[in-house]
């Protein structure tokens, strides 16, 4: 049939029609709106609800933000300025309190003329972190280190840092930049000594203390090298013993004697002067750095075949995870003097760091245990087949993969821990959120101010935590090795 038809139709089109534009409702903004906002009755109701929420928020808060005052000396003055500018009965935010007291929110009661020291510590921390965190991408490293260098030096100049220290910071930052261009691993020695340097920069006092703390492990290493030919176990035991004994017996006196011979002191700052974000960051960074290795050890212990090791680790982890952080902080502030020999006192910030570390390590251990459990059994068997011993297998095969799997969990533990540093307010330290705001409100000029400090402190916390979570996503993508 069809071929007869084909012969009867003697018409073939030989020109193409120009393509027509789609109907107006099928493209562009209208189509987008129809698909994403008004595709059905439920969707339309949700859209209206959403617009309602946004409208409510804007209507409630916009005038308050729009009328904010940045230049005033007291809350009353703020209110007068708002009334004068926007009419009687208008309300406005009084961000003048941030302008006047920002230094306390950032540094607590740290001596004003020494503000450059925490600033420098923070800037140099980025250099120390570079080989650890940003080792993969040259571009990111370049950007981060360049911005750090510029901001740190500018802030140090503004805060009136002495020329010698300015030179030191410049030297470290420039070396950091050069090393980052050539070979980032050159910076690793700096990363290792940075914790001690950081403690010295922040608390001040004699440099000989940190130096002799560092001498301990060096002596231990020498002992290990000498004895490792005799027996590896003996060498390890000797190395630990030498280090600990040196710290306990000799380091203190040696540091005092050396200080008397050649003074390397900078002005010391007591712990109760620490406050604000300086305190939060000190506790947070120290807790992060210490809880990761401790968490790995706990997780490995919990996965161990040895019954006793496993049970001890389970008891420890479950106990710490079963109680609130506040009770642990109370233990640090109230009970530690019961547990230690009479007359032992040590710094409250150090005690809090220890408790926060223990707390975070228990959570970290569970996260890493998840990673270890998620690893296919074949990986462990392959390590055994290669004849690797336990530590080599863990270090070369198991842990790199397990840690990679657990990155999201590890970072959320860090974020949680950083947020929890605000709880130190309950053991009498000046956290940026409650204690600092209470201290500001104690002043008659700022009595009754609530929202502006909350917004300021909340915004900084948000930036840091949000940044950390985005960094973890970047890390996850970068370490993605499976082919999908």
């Amino acid at each position: 049939m069809s071929d007869t038809h084909a012969q009867t139709v003697g018409f073939v089109r030989d020109t193409m029609l120009p393509s027509a534009a789609p109907p107006v409702r099928e493209s562009g903004a209208v189509r987008w709106l129809r698909e994403n906002l008004f595709s059905g009755p439920v969707n339309t109701i949700l859209t209206i609800l959403g617009i309602g929420i946004v409208w409510f928020l804007v209507a409630t808060f916009w005038d308050w933000f729009a009328h904010s005052v940045w230049n005033a000396n007291s809350l009353n003055e703020c209110r007068e300025i708002v009334a004068a500018t926007w009419g009687e009965g208008a309300r406005g935010a009084c961000f003048a309190v941030i302008r006047e007291r920002w230094n306390q929110y950032l540094f607590g009661f740290y001596p004003q003329d020494l503000y450059w020291r925490p600033t420098m510590t923070f800037g140099l921390m980025m250099v120390a972190l570079a080989p650890v965190l940003f080792s993969a991408s040259l571009t990111i490293r370049r950007v981060v280190l360049a911005i750090t260098a510029v901001v740190t030096l500018w802030a140090m100049i503004v805060l009136g840092a002495p020329a010698g220290w300015l030179g030191f910071a410049t030297l470290v930052l420039v070396v950091g930049l050069v090393a980052s261009e050539r070979n980032i691993m050159w910076l690793l020695p700096f990363s290792i000594i940075y914790p001690l340097l950081g403690v010295w920069f922040l608390w001040g006092g004699s440099l000989w203390g940190p130096i002799f703390v560092l001498v301990g492990p060096v002596l231990g290493w020498i002992a290990w090298r000498v004895l490792s030919r005799v027996s590896p176990l003996l060498a390890t035991v000797a190395a630990i013993l030498v280090t600990v004994l040196f710290w306990l017996m000799l380091a203190g006196d040696a540091a005092r004697d050396a200080e008397n011979l050649l003074s390397l002191s900078i002005q010391s700052v007591r712990s109760d002067r620490f406050g604000g974000f300086l305190l939060s960051l000190t506790i947070g960074v120290a807790g992060i750095a210490l809880s990761l290795p401790l968490g790995i050890v706990l997780a490995l212990a919990r996965q161990s075949d040895m019954f006793l090791i496993k049970s001890l680790s389970v008891i420890f982890i479950e106990f710490i995870r079963g109680v609130p952080l506040i009770t642990l902080l109370f233990v640090a502030s109230l009970l530690l003097n019961y547990f230690l020999p009479p007359g032992t006192t040590f710094d409250i910030i150090l005690r809090v760091i220890i408790m926060v570390t223990i707390f975070a390590a228990a959570y970290m251990a569970e996260v890493i245990r998840g990673g270890l459990a998620a690893l296919p059994k074949g990986q462990y068997e392959a390590a055994d087949a290669l004849g690797l011993d336990y530590w080599k297998a863990q270090r070369l095969i198991v842990l790199p993969q397990a840690l990679k799997i657990s990155i999201p969990g590890i970072v959320s533990t860090f974020i949680g821990m950083f947020k929890d540093t605000t709880l130190v307010t309950f053991v009498g330290l000046y956290d940026p959120l409650k204690s600092m705001s209470d201290a500001v409100r104690a002043n008659v000029a700022w009595k009754g101010i609530y929202w502006e400090p909350f917004i300021f402190v909340g915004a900084i916390f948000f930036l840091i935590c949000f940044g950390m979570s985005r960094y973890s996503m970047y890390l996850e993508r970068r370490l993605q090795r499976d082919h999908r």
Binding site: N43, G50, L325, I326, P342, V457, F461
Partner: protein, 418 residues
């Protein structure tokens, strides 16, 4: 004559404890055990020594002394003349109240937000993302302080509700009044009160509560019997009898009859003089703590729910549609059972977190376990060691109970593999 295929075991030497695989783990464990015991012994000895230096002893006798302080919110009768133990129990109940209320509200809100983040609606999904990111990335303490400040600073005083032309008005059909000191909510009242069952120690249970709870439990048992019978009929004949109206009847009718018999009704608070009476005045510290815990935990639960739903592969719902299941059946029979498997373990830890975070009540002066046992009692008696140890153990027991209970539930919804 010895068997040549078995090598003679070498004589035991001391170095084998370290170098031989068979003994190494034993040696290691013994060494660790000795070290841990030595550490524990050192701590205990220090504690005993320190206590004797201070002339204190380690005993819990202080729990039976007169407490002498008041607690604003008491779920069981309590006066300042009661013992510290009773105060601690009141605190524990307050902790449990805020934890249970918070878990329920956070789950509801979290599920809504988590599902809404996946919605096709661009605007609503973005709004929910903003909600989650904001609440997750700022400290809980900030939210507690903000909510508390909203209640104490912005809400009107009770007397603002007074007069013919009041400046403030009650919400929810004149049933709830938000004031700067408390939130007045309606209570359940009865016209035909059957009296209370005395459990001793001044703890009473109203008979009406017991009767209604009994009716509900009987209803659940009856529902199970109906379902078993329906299953039996289906197994025998292949036709499942329609049971929904029987189920509905056994679940609701007895309860409704009891409610009618006791004359149960809502009694709205009303302003008498300076304060609201008739309803229940819930202190703002509880409301603020509950609301902040709810919002904060809901953001985490939303992420868990979203991840759980995304974890169910698309093919599952497509297969269900291909079988001709309607969307709600697909949700309840295919997607949810698989999503719950992923959702429940992290949900358990969120419940645990919420319960532990309720100890932040210290920021708003809510008298929970930490406020009574770990706060006023500790300060009055000076028994830091006993009070904190007891408090930690109580929290530990609560945590273990929650985690055990939820793990049983988890085992029931878990995917059965081979």
């Amino acid at each position: 004559m010895t068997d040549a295929s078995v090598p003679a075991s070498p004589p035991f030497r001391l170095s084998m404890l370290v170098n031989d695989r068979r003994y190494r783990s034993m040696t290691f464990q013994v060494v660790v055990f000795i070290l841990v015991m030595a550490g524990a012994w050192w701590l205990v000895m220090n504690t005993i020594h320190n206590l004797s230096l201070m002339g204190k002893s380690f005993n819990f006798g202080f729990l039976f002394q007169r407490a002498g302080y008041d607690i604003p919110q008491t779920p069981i009768p309590y006066t300042a003349d009661d013992t510290h133990l009773r105060a601690a129990v009141v605190g524990l109940l307050n902790t449990l109240i805020v934890a249970v209320l918070g878990c329920i509200a956070a789950t509801v809100l979290g599920v809504i937000v988590g599902v809404a983040r996946l919605s096709n609606n661009w605007l609503f999904a973005r709004l929910m993302t903003v909600f989650v990111e904001i609440f997750r990335n700022m400290p809980l303490l900030l939210w507690i302080l903000i909510v508390y400040a909203v209640f104490t600073e912005i809400m009107p005083a009770p007397n603002a509700f007074r007069g013919d032309n009041p400046t403030a008005s009650m919400i929810l059909f004149d049933h709830v009044a938000l004031t700067n000191r408390y939130t007045a909510i309606p209570t359940l009242a009865m016209t035909n009160d059957p009296g209370s069952l005395d459990l001793g120690a001044r703890i009473t249970f109203n008979w009406a509560t017991i009767a209604i709870a009994g009716a509900l439990i009987a209803g659940l048992i009856a529902r199970r019997m109906i379902r078993d019978r329906a299953q039996a009929v289906q197994d025998r004949t292949g036709i499942r009898p329609v049971t929904w109206w029987q189920t509905l009847a056994v679940m609701t009718v007895p309860t409704l009859i009891l409610i009618w018999y006791f004359g149960l009704h809502l009694e709205a608070p009303s302003l008498q003089g300076f304060n609201f009476t008739g309803g229940l005045n819930v202190s703002n510290s509880l409301v603020a703590l509950w609301l902040a815990l709810t919002l904060y935990t809901a953001a985490f639960i939303a992420e868990i729910v979203r991840a759980g739903i995304l974890a169910v592969s698309r093919g599952q719902s497509e297969a269900a549609f291909a079988l001709g299941l309607r969307p709600n059946r697909t949700m309840s029979l295919v997607i949810l059972p698989q999503a719950l498997r992923v959702i429940i373990p992290p949900l358990i830890s969120q419940y645990l977190n919420l319960t532990k975070n309720s100890s932040l009540a210290i920021a708003v002066g809510y008298m929970d376990l930490r406020g009574t046992l770990g706060g006023t009692t500790l300060n009055q008696t000076g028994r830091e060691l006993e009070a904190i140890v007891l408090m930690m153990l109580t929290y530990l027991v609560i945590s273990l109970i929650i985690s055990a209970g939820m793990n049983i539930f988890n085992a029931r919804v878990k995917l059965k593999e081979r």
